[in-house]
Structures are given as C-alpha cells and as structure tokens.
C-alpha cells in the first residue's frame, strides 16, 4: 500500500492572547477521506517526542523539557484513556520540519502576534494515523516555568498541556465565555476546558489541570478497556425552522456532578457527545459566538443566527450505550 503523506496545518490550534474565544466542548481533529470524515490519532502505544534545544529568557532547555514532561504526564494520567509518551532527547531540529521527528520547541513568529503556540501534523491520509506532529511556542512572548505562575508571563506548562491536546488529535473546545475588548480582542470570562482556544492570560496556571470535557475527548479517542462500558453517549440533531443547523455548540450538563461536556453539530445537524457519566443531562445549545468560528470548524455553512436554547427534556446517557436520537429546535435570533 502506498502511503500518501499530507503535511498540513490541520488547524492553527493556537492559544490566542486576546482573540476570540468560545464556550465549547471537545472536538476531534480529522480529515475527509473519500467523503468520510476520519479522526486523526496516534496508533502507537508510546509516542516519542523531542525537545528543541533552543533557549528563551526564563526557560532553559532542561526546564523546557521538564515542563513538557509534566504536561505529558497530565494527559497520560487520565484513568479512562490509554496513551503514553516517551522523551527521546534534545534536538536541534526545528518544529514544523517534515523530518519524521515530533519536535517541541520555541520559535519566533512575530507575524502571529496573538498566537502562543501551534501544532502541525503529518498524517497518513489512508489510515488517519499521525506520523509526525510538531509544536512550537511563540518566543515573541515571555514564558514562565514558575511553580505558581508569573503575573507578567505565560505559563509554559499550561500552554503545553493545551498543545499536547492537539498533538493527541483533539481540536478546540468551545466551553467558555468571553467578552469583546475595546481593541477588538477578547477576554476570557470563564473557561471550561484546557482545549478552549484562548488563554486564560498571563500568570494563570489553571490550564495545567484537565477538565471533564478534555478528559472525555481524549478518552473517546484513546479509550481504555472500561471507558465505553462505563460511560454513555448522547446523540441528537439541532434544527431551526425544520432545517438542520450546522456548527451549533451542544453541551451536556450533568445536574448531579456539574460537569460540562460538549460537541458541535455537523452539516446535517446531528451531534454526538461521548464520555458522559450515566444519568440524565441538561442539553444546552448555543451558536459559536465567543471566538472565531474557524477556531473550531470550517466556517462555511456554520449557522450562528439562533438563540441559546435549553432542550425541554432531560436526556439520559445510558451506561455503555447511546441515547435515542432526539431533536433540539432552536429559534432564530
């Protein structure tokens, strides 16, 4: 079988300083293959990664490696997922080179003046398997490795945890709320996922800790033996005036645990939210209006002209199964 390789910036999966942000849940990165959408993921049980040996003010190569190792451990420690990483060593190879090495490093990219970091992939487009993934951290910003954070710098481990989510194949989550600033950027009021596209800001170390939406996303992509049988899936469809709504952000809220896990509706209005604790859930549907649509989805055809809607039925996530599909009808703005 011939392997076609595609090097693609599948998403500029970056944390933006004060750019758009939204409230969402997890989404898996993927690509279309012969009309079928396929998620991308690593197919090896232990993924090798390299650290670029460049230094930036406040972060030595060894500190860089140590912070990344802690961020990797955060993802490895999810009890319902099986994925492992192995540090392969320091390298002078540059992130984003197609060299079969998965390299993390600092790079100065002044033209991306709101981008803290970004992840790119080389993917086997036949199998969806990730062949290589590189991550750069934009060295035009000041970085911190301080245990409690530094109010004037961005926390490296927090941003690394986010980028490693992409490295695993997760897209952005929209579980968060933002407000528009006077300069046109956005300020995060609250974030419900490490994979929210906008940073909580300088000094914050909150994104070192995964949230239920992140855990559901990575577990759905790399499930351990009991994940499927211990959790449930909710499926449904979002409609407005009898027509499917594309790109609606659907969040399942567990009124017992307080967890928020979500996903987006597709072009046919259908959505699927996996990794839910069995039990009844409140369903909240909102348009993507807290961040740029392309932070999450291809903007073409995405409908944002509807009101925030709560479904009038509690939807039960069955243990080890999938709910009966249901329709949520939203109203135009």
């Amino acid at each position: 079988m011939s392997r076609r390789r595609l090097q693609a910036w599948l998403v500029i999966v970056a944390l933006v300083l004060a750019a758009p942000g939204t409230a969402h849940a997890y989404i898996h990165l993927g690509f279309d293959n012969a009309g079928q959408s396929r998620p991308i993921k690593w197919n090896s049980s232990s993924v090798l990664w390299y650290a670029n040996d460049r230094t930036v003010p406040g972060v030595s190569p060894s500190q860089f490696q140590a912070e990344l190792a802690q961020a990797f451990t955060t993802w490895e420690s999810v009890p319902t997922a099986t994925i492992a990483f192995q540090f392969a060593g320091f390298t002078s190879a540059i992130p984003l080179d197609d060299d079969s090495l998965s390299v993390f490093g600092f790079q100065s990219v002044p033209e991306l003046d709101r981008v803290l970091g970004s992840t790119a992939f080389v993917v086997d487009v036949i199998t969806g398997s990730i062949v290589e993934s590189d991550v750069f951290f934009n060295s035009i910003f000041a970085w911190s490795v301080a245990a409690g954070g530094d109010a004037t710098r961005f926390d490296l481990r927090s941003v690394a945890t986010h980028e490693i989510g992409h490295f695993l194949g997760l897209g952005h989550s929209a579980i968060g709320e933002t407000e528009v600033r006077t300069d046109g950027g956005r300020r995060v009021l609250g974030s419900g996922a490490v994979m929210f596209p906008i940073s909580l800001g300088r000094g914050s170390v909150e994104d070192r800790v995964l949230q239920p939406d992140d855990i559901a996303g990575v577990s759905d992509l790399y499930p351990d033996g009991n994940f499927r049988s211990d959790t449930g899936i909710i499926t449904g469809r979002v409609r407005m005036n009898g027509v499917a709504v594309n790109g609606a952000h659907v969040v399942a809220f567990n009124p017992q645990t307080g967890t928020l896990i979500g996903n987006f509706s597709g072009a046919d209005g259908t959505f699927r939210i996996a990794g839910l604790t069995p039990g009844p859930h409140v369903i909240r549907v909102e348009p993507i209006d807290d961040a740029d649509i392309d932070s999450f989805l291809d903007p073409a055809g995405v409908n944002v002209n509807f009101q925030v809607t709560f479904h009038d039925r509690l939807i039960v996530a069955p243990r080890g199964g999938t709910s009966a599909s249901f329709d949520v009808t939203v109203r135009p703005k």
Partner: protein, 227 residues
C-alpha cells in the same frame, strides 16, 4: 413538600407507637391471625429536592464563573401498589409490597450567562419498589372502628430512566403507620375478611446516582382481603 410530609409521618409514628406502649387493650382485631392477606391500592408519593448544582467555568485566578445554575427535583406522583402479608399473631404481621409510580424529574435552569429567564428540562422515571417489613397492630388504641398500626421495613428500588435507557437500582428503608377498618368478617368461605387500610410512610431511598439518601413521604389506601 417532602420535608413537611416527613415530619407528618414521623409524628404519626411517634404518636401511634408512644401511646401504644402505655395503653390498655380495648378492642379485638377483625382479621384472623395465621391467614394470608392480599391487598391492592393506590397512593401518592411525595417529591424530593435533589439539590442545586451550578455549571461553573474557571477564571484565570481559579475562581468560578457561573454559566448557569440548576436545581433538580423529583416531583410527587400517584402510585399503584399490591401487598401480600400474613398476620402471625393478633399484634404482629409480616408483609411484602410492590409499588409502581412514574414521577417526573425536573431540572430548572436559571441565571444563564447568555439567555434570560428560566428553563425546565424534564423526564419521566419509572419507579419500582419491592419491600418487606413488619406490621405491629395496636388494638389497644382502636376506636371508631379503626385499628392503628405501625410498620417498618426495607426493600429494593429499581428506577428506569427514559424507557429503560438507564436502569438505576438501590435500596430503601421505611417507617410508617396507619390504620385498618374492617368491612367484612366471617368464619367460613374463601374470603374470611375484608378491610380497608390507610398507610403513611417515610421512605429513605439510596440510589446509585444519588449522593446520600433521598427522603420521600408517601400515603396510600388499599383494599385488603384475608383468605
């Protein structure tokens, strides 16, 4: 509502039990001992507040940002019950019961960051109770044709969400009391006695998805045949 009901039920038990200890027997029991009793009836089971839960996001400092608030409760509902028991003596009996109800589970959403007003999401739950316990009759307190009793027991609960999409099981304990009133009593024939019975209970449910116990009062009335 359920808490008020709980107090009422507890009060009834205390009065019935307390007075029973010091009273003098005054009236015989119509239903003969050692015979099978079968009853069917209808009732009402009180609701239960299942608590408030905010949908919180994190802020940069780690504090909460409230996306919305929720308050969930199980509504009161009618119930159907069937009971089988036996009076082992004039005072003591044992019995088993099946009760079926279909309460609604409600979550009321308020204070949404982006939507005004409140919203309610609901589902109907099929609630099955299989319990058994002891009945202590108190003939010394009988009056106006009514014989009071106290009861206590334990059982198994099976709760089906959304047409069996999810089965939740657990157990319950109950205490209660009530009275019976004889309608018919005879020394021959298949049916030896017939009576009506009223029950007042406090139920403590322990279900898989709940944190801690859920208190729910219940009342029921049934027709009892003694064979």
């Amino acid at each position: 509502m359920s808490r008020r009901f709980f107090s009422l039920a507890a009060l009834a038990v205390v009065i019935v039990g307390g007075v029973g200890v010091s009273s003098v027997a005054a009236q015989t029991v119509s239903e003969p001992a050692g015979r099978l009793q079968v009853g069917v009836g209808v009732g009402w089971i009180g609701g239960a507040a299942l608590g408030e839960q905010p949908a919180n996001l994190r802020t940069a400092s780690g504090g909460p940002y409230r996306l919305f608030e929720s308050e969930t409760d199980l509504a009161s509902s009618g119930s159907f019950e069937a009971r089988v028991g036996i009076l082992v003596s004039r005072r003591y009996g044992v019995e088993g019961r099946v009760a079926i109800s279909k309460p609604e589970l409600h979550s009321v959403i308020t204070s949404d960051a982006e939507a005004t007003g409140s919203f309610t999401a609901a589902e109907t739950v099929d609630h099955y109770v299989f319990d058994g316990g002891v009945v202590v009759r108190l003939p010394e307190l009988a009056g106006m044709g009514l014989t009071p009793f106290a009861s206590a027991g334990a059982g198994y609960v099976r709760q089906l969400h959304e047409e069996q999409a999810l089965v939740e099981t657990g157990h319950l304990f109950y205490v209660g009391g009530g009275f019976t009133r004889p309608l018919l009593s005879r020394s021959q024939g298949l049916i030896r006695a017939m009576s009506v019975r009223a029950d007042l209970r406090l139920n403590l449910f322990y279900l898989e998805l709940d944190e801690g116990s859920r208190q729910q009062g219940s009342v029921s009335g049934s027709l009892v045949l003694t064979f």
